[in-house]
Symmetry: C2
Subunit: 137 residues, 2 copies
DNA sequence: GCAACGCATGCAATCGTAGTGCATTATTTC
DNA sequence: GAAATAATGCACTACGATTGCATGCGTTGC
């Protein structure tokens, strides 16, 4: 359990009981989760507290927001090199149209994008939809 | 005005008064619009009717859905080669963090994406966030 | 040890968008 | 022109995001 606390403190997040529970939960996930997912899995937790917890995590570079086109915001743990100053999650997000799960594909990288003159890039979001490896079988 | 009707009929959409108004509005836009945008601009229109109108348009390949990470669905006219059988809007969508507008960049194209083994691609969504040409000045 | 402070938590409530059901109106077909 | 079909408008529901406020808890200074 000390390990969890350490992870929070490395990101300058005070390790409260709630936060440890949420971090522990996130570490166990294989796909990005919505607030509702968390709320259902972690009984006895208030939705708003979860909302603020992941918000804190996000602000400190521990989780990143995943937009998968469902209109529901999902969250997943960041790569270790993310900080409060900026996220570096330049990987592909994959939404499976069958199982409805959204996976981070951290081994992938986003190719160079050419923008028209005058456009200034700050962030890139690449979402691929299709069938995941498990559902394709 | 006959021109508008023709555009609808080419996509097998019956040209009603409402639909002509919506198409006319969409043709005048330089960025993707939300239902609320339409509702505000087109007075006297019911939100649900708009909702169903763009849904019809989408099903017939006249408009495509734009996901810009704001959680609000936006719509923009398709390229001419889209049909009811499939959209071919493989261009970049650009969300300006300053003016909050979302532009289609039809001249761009999405580079080849390498997915891990087992993943089956059906659709790609590439969203770039930053400053648009107008806001960068 | 305790008082004061700040931050975290939980509850209630609000807001905005998406979506459905149904009655009414318009349009097409014969 | 009447019947059938499709489109429209209104009422209402569902749900996620978000804020305000009161309470709880942990830390610090004395």
């Amino acid at each position: 359990m000390k390990e969890l606390e350490k992870q929070l403190q490395e990101k300058q997040i005070k390790p409260t009981a709630m936060r440890l529970v949420v971090l522990d939960y996130l570490l166990k996930q294989t796909s990005a989760v919505s607030l509702t997912d968390m709320e259902v899995s972690l009984k006895k937790t208030d939705r708003v507290t979860l909302y603020r917890t992941v918000k804190t995590f996000e602000e400190h570079g521990l989780v990143h927001r995943v937009e998968d086109g469902t209109g529901v915001t999902k969250f997943a743990l960041c790569q270790p090199d993310c900080t409060a100053n900026g996220h570096h999650d330049l990987h592909i997000h994959f939404y499976c149209t069958n199982c409805k799960e959204t996976h981070c594909l951290p081994r992938t990288h986003i190719p160079e994008i050419m923008l028209p003159d005058g456009y200034d890039r700050q962030e890139i979001n690449l979402l691929v939809k299709g069938l995941c490896a498990a559902c394709k079988k």
